[in-house]
């Protein structure tokens, strides 16, 4: 596992927006800026480590209470500002993702982090449902509740194709402990069973990704890398505007039709039986 969770997030937020400061009223861990995405202005959001956070369990880049409510606030501001605009003019929202996980803390549980996470997912999904293109760009780690809170409600998900990118439900060590396996067993299983894998290329087989992007230097992006990623984000926005406002594209992608056969069969049978129930 990388020790540098969050560095890529900040680097790419800066590369795509020219900014790397939080807005007034937001915690140091949430970056929000309006910047150009193709021909239009978009809202960019990112969660980064904040070693000075007043919540000890988020200091390494986890998504906690303040992070979730700040993301929800900024997203809902964009929805409100564009409320009267026609769909083609509603601003895109781009979530840059490099998060270790959700916060594992007692303060967080006591104050209801489950609701904070839900409020952020709700805000992103609400933006999508009223016609904002919501794009996720996974530049590093996208783990578990951190990803559910920040990014997994997007119309289109882009991810870098390199070994520093991991999208998963749980860290390897913890998953090994809970399923009573060794880390090496888990790695072996990952090669055989796509949903278990920690490799982003296996993740791509699930069909939830829109595209994998090749970047030469994901830690310190060169101008050419930045230009390519900007173009990919703009293309994803265009594609999202042409598609539906639900997540159907994830289930109906060619890769999903291969990997998610059982789930799709359950869905088809449910539709059939529902009609006569």
């Amino acid at each position: 596992m990388s020790e540098y969770t969050g560095l890529r997030g900040r680097a790419w937020f800066k590369a795509l927006t020219g900014d790397d400061q939080p807005r007034t009223g937001d915690p140091g861990s949430v970056l929000a800026a309006d910047a150009q995405a193709g021909p239009e202005r978009a809202l960019f959001l990112c969660v980064v480590p904040n070693p000075d956070s007043r919540f000890p369990c988020v200091r390494d880049g986890q998504v906690g209470l303040e992070e979730a409510y700040a993301l929800a606030t900024r997203t809902r501001e964009a929805i409100a500002a564009d409320r009267d605009k026609p769909k083609p003019e509603k601003r895109p929202i781009v979530a840059i993702i490099d998060v270790k996980s959700q916060a594992y803390g007692r303060r967080e549980e006591t104050a209801g982090i489950f609701l904070a996470a839900a409020a952020s997912a709700d805000a992103y999904a609400s933006a999508r449902m009223v016609g904002h293109p919501v794009i996720s760009l996974v530049v590093g780690h996208a783990f578990s509740g951190g990803f559910l809170t920040h990014g997994y409600q997007a119309n289109r998900i882009l991810a870098f194709d390199d070994a520093g990118v991991t999208i998963h439900a749980m860290h390897e060590e913890a998953a090994a402990r809970i399923t009573r396996r060794s880390v090496s067993d888990l790695e072996r299983l990952g090669h055989e069973i796509a949903p278990m894998s920690y490799d982003v290329r296996d993740y791509a087989k699930l069909g939830t990704l829109y595209k994998l992007l090749h970047v030469n230097n994901p830690m310190e992006p060169a101008e050419s890398d930045i230009a390519e990623v900007k173009q990919a984000v703009a293309d994803a926005i265009t594609d999202a505007r042409m598609g539906a406002e639900d997540l159907g594209n994830r289930m109906n992608s060619p890769a999903a039709k291969e990997t998610r056969k059982a789930g799709l069969a359950a869905r088809a049978l449910m539709e059939k039986q529902w009609a006569t129930a």
């Binding site: 594992y104 007692r106 967080e108 409020a119 709700d122 409600q153 998963h168 059982a262």
Partner: protein, 291 residues
């Protein structure tokens, strides 16, 4: 009530918690109206568990019953806590999402169809890891569509509780009903102890666990709506009330500003006392809250 009448009423109540996932779902629907969809005889099982020498189950631990509640169209989706801890895999997740989406389709066609989610789950099924996580994101998305048209009512009765990604599903629901035996939170105590150390959370301290995650606390602090006894009659009555109430004016997960201010006001220099927080948050939600 004297002791002599109190004890028989406790003994004679019909326990909800003692029912399995299927019987729980049946107990909430109007008599004779429930029909199971994609049931065990359809045998759509997890393809991933046998690959790992884990026995699958013919309903994948997710029971879907369509019928009526208080005379109105409804679908009950029940997670079986006794199978793999009620965890969400590819198939159980797809069943939930499909049922929610069909309820949305009927609702937007003029037949409002409420959904009742019986959540006894630890969240993602780790043997199906990324498909479980993807499924939970889809379940959340589908709840958010349905609740625009009809109420989505989550019941956490116990004893597994509702944790992990599925706690977000509870968070975006229109209403949440809990018993005192139920728990609701993002991270369970064991996970916190492992990730952040025993000084952060002692997972053997049961009083602490229920003080933070327990139904009485969650309802008391306004993060859930109704506290019910472990009784079929009480839980079914609470569900009927919310089905008839329809969707709330504002959903809890939309009250971003209010909760953001509450978080800003917390003293984080030390751990937060659950009872004090309940006193601070609870009354405001029931008296001045938008719900």
């Amino acid at each position: 009530m004297s002791e002599s009448t109190l004890i028989p009423s406790f003994v004679n109540r019909k326990s909800f918690i003692e029912l399995d996932g299927r019987a729980r779902a049946q107990s909430l629907l109007d008599e004779g109206t429930g029909k199971e969809l994609v049931g065990p005889f359809d045998r759509i099982e997890s393809p991933w568990l046998p690959m790992q020498d884990v026995a699958p189950q013919a309903d994948d631990g997710c029971i879907v019953l369509k019928g009526r509640i208080a005379g109105k169209p409804a679908v009950v989706i029940s997670l079986e806590g006794a199978f793999q801890g009620g965890s969400i895999g590819e198939v159980s997740g797809a069943k939930m999402t499909a049922a929610l989406d069909l309820a949305t389709r009927d609702s937007s066609a003029g037949i409002p169809t409420a959904a009742v989610l019986l959540l006894e789950t630890g969240g993602v099924r780790l043997q199906e890891a990324n498909l479980g996580l993807a499924a939970i994101a889809e379940v959340i998305a589908s709840i958010l569509f349905l609740r625009q048209h009809a109420p989505v009512i989550t019941v956490v009765a116990g004893t597994v509780g509702c944790f992990g990604g599925m706690s977000l599903a509870a968070g975006v629901s229109s209403y949440v009903i809990m018993t005192r035996e139920a728990r609701l939170g993002l991270n369970g105590p064991e996970v916190i102890e492992q990730e952040s150390g025993i000084e952060e959370f002692d997972a053997s301290d049961r009083a602490l666990i229920w003080a933070i995650h327990g139904g009485e606390q969650r309802v008391g602090m306004g993060l859930a709506d109704a506290l019910a006894e472990d009784s079929i009659d009480e839980i079914a009555a609470a569900v009927r009330t919310y089905v008839l109430a329809g969707k709330p004016a504002q959903h809890r997960s939309e009250q971003v500003q209010m909760y953001r201010e509450r978080i800003a006001a917390l003293d984080t220099a030390k751990q937060i006392d659950p009872l004090t927080l309940r006193e601070q948050w609870g009354p405001r939600d029931s008296q001045g809250g938008a719900r």
